[in-house]
């Protein structure tokens, strides 16, 4: 796979808000069927990075290539049309609404002639169920409210929705941050599942333990700067953790904490 053109290629991407550097010198790539993990602590520039990819902001410097063609999106709609779908932390889900309605929200399949036009409910429910099944979740009753699903299952609904609407690149913003250990495992499985189906996945997280098992490529951000862009075989999980927290800083902190505990 690595010999084909990557879905996304980023070279020295940068973004400035006035004279504040939000992001600078970021280089990475995303290939179909692979998971690219973006790691960074709070304020590392992860959200700026997503917003550039998803078309909320345009980059101020560097090269952004989609399937080999240089692009710059002016709106999320444009990015979506080109097959880049972002699943945000708040999931864009309506918790009290049923699974199938959430799945098709804004693009409901309809029947009938104007002005008497209604949603093709059996079709919609069928598709929702089928797409969820492809993610490995058996939703028996698509009428149940999304709010009653667990966090992981809600993620899977969002992912399935993005996949169904023809996403080629899937950006997942901190999908595991609000979840417990085991539930995170479920979501990681969906991420692998999505990649297996030929999507390029960008998995944004601050947890190296979540990133390492599923990632094929790692981009580490710290204070808006790229701390490195590695393929899986180039880096260990420990090294990843160290880099992510700013390397030396974390070691310093570790020593201080140990000293504090010892002096008790």
């Amino acid at each position: 796979m690595s010999d084909s053109t990557p879905l996304l290629e980023l070279e020295n991407i940068g973004k400035f808000y006035g004279n504040i550097i939000a992001l600078q010198g970021v280089t990475t790539e995303v290939r179909a069927g692979e998971v690219t993990c973006v790691l960074g602590d709070n304020g590392a520039g992860k959200s700026t990075f997503i917003k550039i990819l998803a078309g909320v902001h345009t980059h101020d410097e560097g090269v952004f290539k989609l399937e080999g063609e240089e692009v710059g999106f002016n709106s999320p709609r444009e990015a979506l049309d080109r097959g880049i779908a972002a699943v945000y932390q708040d999931l864009a889900m309506v918790p009290l609404m049923s699974v199938w309605r959430n799945f098709f929200l804004g693009a409901e399949p309809t029947k009938g002639v104007f002005p008497v036009r209604w949603v093709d409910k059996p079709l919609a429910k069928g598709i929702a169920k089928e797409e969820m099944a492809k993610m490995g979740i058996d939703i028996r009753d698509t009428e149940q409210p999304v709010g009653t699903l667990s966090g992981g299952e809600r993620q899977s609904v969002a992912i399935a929705r993005a996949v169904y609407y023809g996403a080629k690149v899937l950006i997942l913003d901190e999908p595991t941050s609000a979840l417990g250990v085991k539930q995170s495992g479920v979501v990681l499985r969906y991420i692998v599942e999505a990649a297996k189906r030929g999507l390029g996945v960008i998995f944004i997280t601050h947890n190296p333990a979540h990133a390492f098992p599923v990632g094929d490529r790692f981009l580490i951000l710290n204070r808006g700067q790229s701390m490195g862009n590695f393929a899986k075989d180039e880096i260990s999980q420990h090294e990843l953790t160290r880099l992510m927290a700013g390397g030396a800083e974390l070691e310093q902190l570790q020593h201080e904490l140990e000293a504090a505990i010892a002096s008790k």
Binding site: A92, L96, R101, R140, G147, S150, G180, G185
Partner: protein, 702 residues
């Protein structure tokens, strides 16, 4: 507010514990959150279930204490009030689901009535535009759309809470009604729409104000239609429930068919026997025939279609006899109360009790005070504080008891005691049944059989002892039927295997039959309401007048239910109310959706305004002012969430009927109307708490 807490709960589905469960379950090949939900579990997540149960309870309550409530006249009166209230409540519930309020909706109803009248009023002596109704009606509709659009646009553009924006519109409309009616006709009573005679009045009047007086419509077969509709419908619903709840046989067992056929023949024979015979003894025989044959029919049906349950021995838990015995005793105690106070007295209980009132007040107050004292024994270090606390509780409860006795007539007391005891008794029996069900199916069968016997005993006791004709005949029938249903359910649920998974064919058949059954019940009830019999006319029933506004109400409710449940727009309403940000992100035109909702409310107000104008001919400038809160209350009682994103149009219409019943019930029962608002408040509180309870329960059970 409890509602908002609820939403928050739903959004933050406790990650830790659920996560663990989910993974454990997914490892095992299935998540218990996604497990099969039985028919009752599915029913109970509907937002309108609480309202339907509440409506039935309130109806039964007032039916028991008033003469007119159960008659066609009473029903017409309730529906009359429900109609205009309901149209608005349904529209307002859509808006509330969309996350907004419209405080101008009440005043708007009167406004559109006045506008329409002023548009058609003769130019002559007093102000008016003298237009034809053919122009005035579309014109006022356009004005309505304009008002809704203005409300929606202002809310969206300013991003202010709709509470404030529409409060402003409310004042503007109120001023407009006063100002315009005084400016144009120097009067606060705006009349008359009938001045449009010759200008379309003849055409439009029946559309908005037609009245059917149903006393002239006799139907000899009415009671037969009613009986067949209701009994047959209930039987169909029961069959459907069995189909939805039990496991189908791989191969049908034809051995059950003769039993089923014999049972059905027996039931028909029993009904014919009842119909053609008279006297207490014959009635009892007829009832027993129907019961035995009905049971046989159901058992035969079950043997034919469903997989028998693996036998389980009777296993009795320690607490079971207590629940069982307690339940039976309470049911019978309720019966004794019903009979003991069975007089047609309107007197206040306070007067009837005489000097006995004081020991009761002292006992209640003292009892609660003592309880408070014992509870707080260790809690309070400050003696004074403890004394004040205990004393205030004692005084408050004592005063409460006094007020209760003061408010209640003897008739009211009878129904309250009856309802409390019987409901508590049935609750205990239900508890026993649940507990027994966990032990073994056979035990549950036994408990349900005991319950059925208690109910039947209650029925016969009341029939023999009660002085009131209504209690003797109608209550007897209802209780006996309930006993039969409980018995049948007990036996049949003991015999057959319960379903734990889907079965598409069975589900489809079950829901189809259930729908037919409910349709049959509806037909029976409507026939009962719309037609009179010779006997009734001879007995001099009150006149029943049905207004066309009821049809508008029905139509609007159906339209809104369809809109909400079956269209794109419906999804968008839920979305903008549930999570506007998310809806917008995903491409729902949130601003447009909300504006259209405001326009729907305005159109509903226009419709209600026309109904008012044609009905009253002259309209007061105060018409509708302040009613917006009634609309909101009806929507909330009907299960719509104040915070938006959840609710039902059908529920709101039931909420309106509940409001109408509680308004009508007090004058019907001839109780002191000064207490009406207290009663209304109580109903609202109960409804909201019950809705909340059902919703949390339903969501927790999954």
């Amino acid at each position: 507010m409890s509602e908002s807490a609820d939403t928050a709960d739903a959004e933050a589905v406790e990650p830790q514990s659920s996560a663990e469960k989910a993974l454990a379950a997914s490892a095992a090949g299935g998540d218990e959150r996604l497990a099969y939900r039985g028919v009752f579990q599915r029913l109970f997540v509907r937002p309108e279930i609480g309202a339907i149960v509440g409506a039935a309870a309130i109806w039964a309550f007032f039916w028991a204490v008033s003469r007119e409530f159960g008659t066609a006249g009473g029903a017409a009166s309730i529906l009359d009030v429900s109609a205009t209230l309901g149209i608005m409540a349904v529209a307002v519930s859509l808006l509330m689901i969309g996350g907004e309020f419209d405080l101008s909706s009440g005043a708007a109803t009167g406004t559109f009535a006045i506008i329409t009248i002023l548009l058609v009023k003769d130019v002559g002596d007093l102000g008016g535009a003298g237009l034809s109704l053919w122009v005035a009606i579309p014109l006022s509709l356009i004005i309505a759309l304009g008002l809704g659009w203005a409300n929606g646009t202002m809310v969206e553009r300013t991003a202010l809470p709709s509470f404030i924006v529409t409060l402003a519109t409310f004042f503007i409309l109120r001023g407009f009604k006063l100002g315009f009616s005084k400016l144009m006709i120097d009067n606060l009573t705006v009349g008359r729409i009938s001045e449009a005679e010759g200008r379309g009045y003849e055409f439009w009047e029946p559309i908005f104000a037609f009245v059917w007086v149903r006393n002239d419509h006799q139907l000899g077969i009415r009671d037969a239609l009613y009986t067949i509709g209701v009994v047959g419908g209930l039987a169909l619903v029961a069959f459907a429930l069995a189909e939805l709840s039990f496991v189908r046989r791989e191969k049908l067992n034809s051995g059950g068919v003769p039993v089923l056929a014999a049972g059905v023949v027996g039931v028909v024979a029993g009904i014919l026997f009842l119909h053609n015979s008279d006297g207490v003894g014959a009635n009892t025989v007829g009832a027993v025939i129907i019961a035995v044959a009905g049971l046989a029919a159901f058992v035969g049906f079950g043997l034919w279609r469903f997989t028998p349950q693996a036998a389980g021995g009777v296993h009795i838990k320690d607490s079971l006899p207590m629940y069982l015995g307690g339940g039976v005793v309470l049911v019978l105690l309720g019966a004794i109360c019903a009979v003991a106070f069975d007089v047609d007295s309107q007197e206040s209980v306070l007067d009837l009790l005489g000097f006995l009132r004081w020991p009761i007040i002292l006992a209640v107050g003292g009892g609660f005070a003592a309880r408070a004292y014992l509870r707080n024994d260790s809690g309070h270090t400050n003696t004074l504080q403890a004394v004040i606390n205990v004393a205030s509780i004692g005084i408050a409860t004592g005063f409460g008891a006094y007020a209760f006795m003061f408010m209640t007539t003897e008739q009211g007391l009878r129904s309250i005691l009856f309802a409390v005891f019987v409901l508590a008794g049935l609750g205990l029996l239900g508890l026993a049944a649940t507990q027994a069900g966990r032990a073994s199916p056979a035990t549950r069968g036994v408990v349900l059989a005991v319950t059925a016997i208690a109910l039947a005993g209650l029925a016969f006791f009341i029939r023999d002892q009660s002085a009131s004709e209504k209690f003797r005949s109608e209550l007897f029938g209802v209780l006996l039927a309930t006993a039969l249903v409980v018995l049948v359910w007990g036996v049949i649920s003991t015999m057959f295997e319960r379903r734990t998974s889907d079965h598409e064919a069975a589900d489809n058949l079950g829901s189809l039959v259930a729908k037919i059954g409910m349709g049959a019940i509806a037909v029976g009830m409507i026939a009962k309401m719309l037609f009179t019999t010779d006997d009734e006319l001879a007995a001099g029933v009150a006149r029943a007048q049905f207004r066309i506004s009821i049809l508008w109400f029905l139509g609007f409710t159906l339209f809104a239910t369809w809109l909400l449940g079956r269209t794109k727009f419906g999804s968008w309403i839920f979305a903008v109310g549930g999570n506007k940000q998310a809806a917008r992100q995903i491409g729902v035109p949130a601003a447009r959706t909300k504006t259209q909702l405001f326009m729907i409310v305005a159109v509903a107000a226009w419709l209600v305004g026309l109904l008012l104008a044609f009905r009253l001919d002259t309209v007061q400038s105060v018409a509708g002012n302040g009613l917006e809160f009634e609309y909101i209350i009806a929507a909330v009682v009907g299960g719509t969430l104040l915070t938006g994103g959840y609710g039902s149009a059908f529920g709101a219409s039931i909420g309106a009927i509940i409001m109408a019943m509680s308004k009508q019930g007090i004058p019907s029962a001839r109780w002191n109307s000064d207490w009406r608002f207290a009663f209304l408040g109580l109903i609202l509180l109960t409804a909201v708490i019950a809705n909340n309870f059902i919703r949390t329960k339903a969501e927790a059970s999954r």
